[in-house]
Subunit: 459 residues, 2 copies
């Protein structure tokens, strides 16, 4: 090949050498210039295209450096053997899109929060301070989360939840699912996990995705049944004692102690205490965490700031018993933390400055009022004497049971009035399933709840 | 039991019922009051302690609700059987602390960035706008990351790296390790992974932690050797073609095409292209990504904002071929995203507002100058003719080889002068190992490099 037919424009935005480089690379890729073909000499091409030799030289050296062409001493430039190596393009199938959600008129889902109560001003102020004042935060931090945040968190957990731990036992991560995934892989693959039935499907799917066997344990009115836990032969029990998800059962201290006894009987048994919603106990002082009454290092305590702050702020944490903390350090100590240090430090200042305590009081009040309003609304309904309410002592949702005929009508109403209400039966992993409705009240005003309940429970 | 000896103080800060509740709960937990013992009647205790019956009633109802005591109709309150259920406390062993790092005088590590070039002002401004203007960002977002960020990122990747993908194929996550962990679990457990030797130990440990077999493939001067890849029988190859870690080899296009041919020959074979440091190519136009020249959906493209922005901002991403994107959606579609939506949206505005492009130009210039300075410094050393420099065409570190006697001296100097220099040999997973030094220059000024090199290479 002696030359190219190519139109180069000086005003095209990209420099001439780049236009030339692109043209030749494209020709080589498409097979327009073949393997081992000789390119025109720099001088010849420069003269042909009325450009400087320097321009050609730059383009050629880019092509050499990127492997498109090679130089032979005292001979010139030749095309590398690449076009025949590149596999033929195949049609790419577009991904299937998730179904769009219908527009709900009222939404009783359980994973909402009251967006308006988020401390925007304080959070933005602290975040800004952190970004401006702390260039060292740009460097990689501790795999388990920043030490200062772990310190603050261990004090907070001690004060609010009776959790006994040092900062060394804490691991901060981007969500309960992430932490549970890491935790699962600290245990031998042949160990099996007991979970509550009905229960938290996301946790179950993380455990299953980690390749571990899952045993479903039915509940009685105090929570997970210890007799069936013993029978199951499981090694690790995942429980939600502060507000069982989704039934709302608050596990009494006696049951907590029974489960601890189970854990202490055989080395290697553990309880994973997912203490979600523990901040929202409306019946008096919250019951101390299982971790707090444990003395034998059998409990892994987990919780998240999703409900306290916002689901989109991805900060969760777990407290590991010392021997698991050591295992974690050995196995994952070189992993990078999954939480941005800016957000870690914003949260740290939020806790240390006393903002978290005040924020908690404020939202707890808001949610208590919403719960009280929902209870009054339900009790004032014409059908109220046929409804059974439970799980309302804590958390941000409650359970409503209705007799079969009425339940069917409620389901129809929900559909026709576009009211989102989740069904308890959907949270069972195995038969038998109890039919009931789950009403989450965190994001609904009293007026909206009144309207929604009127429509939902109309006969 | 007829009454308690307890001193209640009105000025103690906590209300009387709470003091009473705490006292009785403590007594029950410690065994001071035994199982099935009867508590004093409300009236008797109120009169004994000179407090109102309401106060006693509140304390008792808290104790009942929390399972400490129970009521018998027309009889009174009794202690539940809990104290004997709680296992005895065992001594908790303190965790072993990680060794403190020595204070380095000069630090040539490879995972540093130039902290001073971080766009503090813009980032803080955008972050603040996002927090203030977008309350909807508090709600849970898409498992794969916000659609708007995935859109912006797919455009950015197309423009800067020739990556061909739709937003549907992108997954945003808190770091390469997290994404690699998720990716591994999309493949059958019996598939094996080929990795570069020497190579990136963190990736290898994520793959091994996921229970997958790892095969170590030696390099030649173009990168991973295809002949040995074929021989290994591996199904998935993890490579770092833009700047092989740690040797710094830039994989020529011919080798990229050869690896693509390997991947296309048998269904189920994939290439994981970790394109870290691709932004910092100092030799001309960067070579298009392997994903960009692939036409058959055999490449998973991954990268991170750790080096471009800061290691502490945990935003990485991967581009999945359509069938893996679909698999991801089915398996992990209900997981929560691991990246805070505030930071996702800050980054989205940073890209869309053109800040990222400008920032990249700026830091690329800074790093190019540092690289040039380090090269001049090394070339001006008295021992320069005995040093062999490589891997300096891209990335933020280069490789220096010295003959045995000199190499030993350099190692001694590093120790005595407290200069951190990593050794190439440490990045090999198997023999034979090549001895050389890795000099990362991202966080050192020209003056510091000059001083450090003078000390390090002194004979």
């Amino acid at each position: 090949m002696n030359s190219f037919t190519i139109s180069l424009t000086k005003s095209k935005g990209s420099p001439l050498y780049e236009q030339l480089y692109r043209y030749i690379a494209g020709e080589i890729r498409s097979g327009g210039i073949r393997k081992n073909e000789k390119l025109p000499s720099k001088k010849a091409l420069a003269s042909h295209l009325h450009i400087s030799q320097n321009t050609v030289e730059t383009a050629y050296s880019m092509l050499v450096q990127e492997g498109y062409i090679y130089a032979r001493a005292r001979s010139g430039y030749y095309v590398s053997g690449i076009s025949d190596l590149i596999p033929n393009p195949a049609d790419k199938k577009p991904c299937s899109l998730p179904e769009p959600e219908p527009a709900w008129r009222f939404d009783f889902r359980t994973n909402a929060v009251d967006v308006s109560s988020f401390p925007f001003k304080t959070w933005a102020k602290l975040n800004r301070e952190v970004v401006y004042q702390s260039p060292e935060l740009l460097l990689p931090g501790d795999a388990r989360g920043d030490a200062s945040l772990r310190e603050s968190l261990s004090k907070y957990l001690h004060e609010f939840r009776g959790v006994k731990c040092s900062a060394e036992q804490l691991v901060i991560g981007a969500g309960i699912e992430y932490l549970l995934m890491m935790l699962c892989s600290l245990f031998e693959p042949e160990l099996s996990f007991a979970v509550e039935n009905p229960g938290y499907g996301k946790a179950v799917s993380v455990i299953k995705n980690s390749g571990r066997e899952v045993k479903y344990i039915p509940l009685d009115r105090e929570g997970l049944r210890p007799d069936l836990l013993y029978e199951s032969g499981a090694d690790i029990a995942y429980i939600t004692p502060s507000h069982q998800f989704p039934t709302g059962i608050v596990m009494p201290i006696g049951r907590r102690a029974e489960l601890l006894r189970w854990a202490s009987e055989i080395p290697g048994r553990y309880i994973i205490e997912d203490d979600y919603n523990s901040e929202f106990n409306f019946m008096g002082r919250p019951i101390p965490s299982v971790q707090g009454i444990d003395g034998g290092g059998r409990v892994i305590y987990m919780s998240t700031f999703s409900r306290i702050l916002a689901p989109s702020i991805r900060i969760a944490y777990m407290v590991l018993p010392p021997e698991l903390a050591e295992k974690y350090r050995l196995k994952f100590g070189h992993y990078s933390s999954t939480v941005s240090r800016f957000e870690q430090q914003t949260l740290c200042r939020f806790i240390d400055g006393g903002y978290l305590g005040r924020h908690l009081n404020r939202v707890k009040n808001i949610y208590r009022k919403r719960r009280d309003a929902l209870l009054s609304i339900l009790k004032a309904l014409p059908c109220s004497d046929r409804l059974r309410i439970s799980g309302d002592g804590a958390g941000l949702h409650l359970i409503v049971e209705a007799p079969p005929g009425l339940a069917e009508k409620i389901e129809k109403n929900a559909e026709s009035e576009r009211i989102r209400v989740w069904r308890l039966a959907d949270y069972y992993f195995e038969e038998p399933k109890r039919e009931a409705f789950i009403l989450g009240y965190a994001s609904l005003s009293a007026e909206d709840m009144e309207k929604a309940a009127g429509l939902l429970f109309a006969e």
